[in-house]
């Protein structure tokens, strides 16, 4: 149908770009509405996010979380599933990471503990995604609704566990004890210092490397394995997948489990890296930001990295902005996030008919000019 009338670069390049620009344009309008200068705001944000070492560190630290949740949403998306449950899966994943670290932190150094923490976190996250996936595949309940419900259940469960079970004895705030220093992930500034490069301190840690590795693995999985082919086929046309002998139910469950395990890796960055303990609400909306990241990055690891850095910059720049301009808070970043989801997701094809018309007119006029030229040449 109409999918074929536009060349690829317009479809995957220009349209998303215009949509992002629209989202930012509306954001600028909102900044003007509250009486501030959008140009100044952008300058503050850019400087806050990229202007100095510490800012860059924070930007990449936030981006690490968004890469994980963005990949999680994308893997499910390729199978035609909309995983809104990244928030809950990351929360439970963090619990797995935390429990493993608290169990073994006196015994093992961080590099020996990391595989166990990844396994435990991944297992917890996958388990939390498994139930909605199973219910979708075998009992026909809708995954969007069940994952929303599971976010709330995860939140209640974690409050219960942190307040009543895992709370550090004698502590007033609901959090676990700190993980022993030998077991926490090295910060990037420490890694750089080991090579003799001095950079400022920030919570950025080696999880970033893990996140980039996850991108490569997801790319390999989705486009270069049989599983990935099955996943994409289900997302493309479930009926055709069934006819060609793919076990759709099992593939749905597997792809959701992978998705949950990816979201859970937020726990590695937060629990084992930045916070070094399990806190209440440590996911802080990264699961939802993952949806925006995945939509913006068109479900491709490269796009997801780019979108994650952009959102990391928005989060860090937003923090700087709220520091500089008192009438703006970090809630503005939430607004921008909502607008990106709106324009890149729900209104993704708003401009397509218009662009198609423009493009057709352009190519037709070019073709007729060519015809005229050839006519003239032949006569």
């Amino acid at each position: 149908m109409s999918n074929r009338t536009l060349p690829g670069w317009i479809d995957i390049g220009l349209i998303p770009l215009i949509n992002i620009c629209l989202a930012f344009l509306v954001s600028a309008g909102i900044i003007m509405l509250i009486g501030e200068n959008p140009v100044e705001a952008v300058q503050v944000m850019l400087f806050g996010a990229f202007g100095y070492d510490e800012g860059i560190g924070y930007t990449l630290y936030y981006a690490t979380n968004f890469i994980f949740t963005g990949l999680a949403v994308a893997v499910a998306f390729h199978a035609g599933l909309f995983n809104i449950g990244g928030e809950g899966q990351a929360y439970l994943g963090g619990l797995g990471v935390g429990l493993m670290c608290l169990m073994l932190d006196g015994w093992l150094p961080w590099w020996a503990l990391l595989p166990f923490a990844i396994a435990a976190g991944g297992l917890f996250g996958a388990a939390w995604a498994y139930i909605p996936a199973y219910l979708q595949a075998y009992r026909g309940s809708h995954i969007v609704i069940t994952t929303i419900m599971f976010n709330f259940i995860a939140s209640a469960l974690m409050v219960y566990l942190l307040v009543n079970v895992l709370i550090e004895p004698g502590s007033m705030s609901p959090q676990t004890r700190s993980i022993a220093e030998s077991a926490t992930l090295p910060y990037m500034y420490q890694v750089f210092a080991a090579f003799g490069v001095e950079i400022e301190q920030s919570p950025l840690n080696v999880s970033l490397i893990l996140a980039l590795l996850a991108c490569v693995l997801v790319w390999l999985l989705i486009w270069h394995t049989r599983w990935g082919y099955a996943i994409r086929m289900i997302g493309f046309n479930e009926k055709a997948a069934v006819y060609s002998g793919i076990n759709t139910r099992r593939t749905i469950v597997i792809s959701m489990c992978i998705s949950g395990a990816l979201a859970a890796m937020v726990g590695i960055n937060e629990v084992m890296g930045a916070q070094q303990r399990v806190l209440l609400e440590f996911v802080a909306g990264a699961g939802f930001t993952g949806i925006a990241v995945s939509l913006m990055g068109r479900n491709h690891p490269l796009g997801i990295i780019a979108a994650s850095v952009l959102f990391g910059a928005l989060y860090q720049g937003g923090a700087e902005l709220s520091f500089e301009i008192s009438t703006i808070t970090r809630d503005l970043v939430v607004v921008i996030q909502g607008l990106v989801i709106l324009f890149c997701g729900a209104l993704a094809y708003m401009l397509k008919p218009t662009l198609e018309k423009l493009f057709l007119r352009y190519t037709l006029s070019k073709a007729s000019r060519k015809d005229k030229l050839t006519e003239e040449a032949s006569s």
């Binding site: 909102i30 929303i148 209640a156 219960y160 909502g338």
Partner: protein, 324 residues
């Protein structure tokens, strides 16, 4: 005996208070989802409505103007949802999610810019709030045992919006199941092709359905900020929109059953507040979090088909494409 009765009456009383925004939102969801449009944005529309109501009431001093403004804002967001999913056939879940996130950020950002109180609106009092209504004779019968307590505490003494919520259920039922508009609305949620073939505009029907949803969410928000509370607070909807969504599914997209689900969820919430720190015989102390999670757990179990089957409108979530 008398004490137990009083406690029961007071729990039921707070059940009704807590259920009111759920009932409005669930009815909103019934309209939207029966027409085939998934409405995850109940939460966002309610939150935006709550902010609009409190902001207008704080400036003008009139709760009624607040209500009007909340409805305008909420219907506006519903139209945005419609524009994305009806006109441009966008993903309805993504659109609803965008509305929720947008409302959560925008209310606080505008609140800080306009009132400079950390995202809250000024405290409302007097005419800027919907006050409790005293039903006729409530004071007179208050001393009569049992009936007096029930009438004066439970039935009387709520504000107008509470009674409107209870009234919205039969109205929704009547509109959906007895009016021509309702018949067509339900048809468009089951089989839009047939409605289109009959020469009725699918898009216009669905737009009207999401506008009804926006109207009801606006009233729900007004209740939150000008009746139940006396100001807008950051993220004050606190997941109520999702509970209403759960209640709507639990009620199998039917107004009467959705009302019962709302009352059940409201009762659980009222009970959990009451049971905080209380040691029950045999079970011991029930964790508050368990009670909070119960509506969600029940909905998941229902959706899995273990306690009956919840059958959604057939065309739900599928954008209608005339060309095919």
């Amino acid at each position: 005996m008398n004490e137990t009765l009083l406690m029961l009456v007071s729990i039921l009383d707070s059940t009704i208070r807590v259920s009111t925004p759920l009932i409005f939102c669930a009815m909103a969801g019934v309209f939207s989802e029966r027409s085939g449009i998934v409405d995850i944005g109940l939460e966002g529309k309610m939150l935006a409505g709550a902010f609009a109501a409190a902001a207008t009431a704080a400036v003008t001093g009139s709760a009624w103007l607040g209500l009007g403004c909340a409805i305008i804002v909420s219907v506006g967001m519903a139209l945005l949802h419609g524009f994305a999913c009806i006109t441009h056939r966008g993903n309805q879940v993504v659109s609803g999610l965008a509305i929720n996130i947008l409302a959560s950020g925008l209310t606080v950002t505008l609140g800080i810019a306009w009132f400079a109180q950390g995202g809250q609106t000024p405290q409302l009092s007097g005419d800027a709030r919907f006050a409790a209504l005293e039903l006729p004779g409530a004071a007179a019968v208050a001393d009569i045992p049992v009936i007096g307590a029930i009438y004066s505490e439970l039935i009387s003494g709520h504000n107008l919006l509470v009674y409107m919520a209870l009234l919205s259920v039969p109205v929704t039922w009547w509109v959906l199941f007895r009016s021509r508009f309702g018949l067509r609305l339900r048809a468009v949620g089951e089989n839009p092709q047939a409605v289109d073939t009959a020469g009725i505009s699918v898009a216009w029907l669905r737009y009207r359905a999401v506008m009804c949803a926006g109207l009801l969410c606006g009233i729900a928000g007004t209740y939150l900020s000008t009746a139940q509370n006396a100001a807008f607070l950051k993220d004050m909807s606190a997941g109520k929109g999702y509970i209403a969504l759960a209640a709507l599914i639990f009620g199998k997209w039917h107004p009467k059953a959705a009302l019962l689900a709302c009352l059940l969820f409201g009762f659980l919430e009222a009970l959990s507040v009451r049971l905080q720190g209380v040691q029950l015989p045999v079970i011991g102390e029930v964790p508050v979090q368990l009670m909070q999670a119960l509506p969600y757990v029940l909905t998941v179990i229902l959706l899995a088909g273990f306690i009956g089957k919840a059958i959604a409108p057939k065309a739900i979530g599928i954008p209608y494409n005339k060309e095919r």
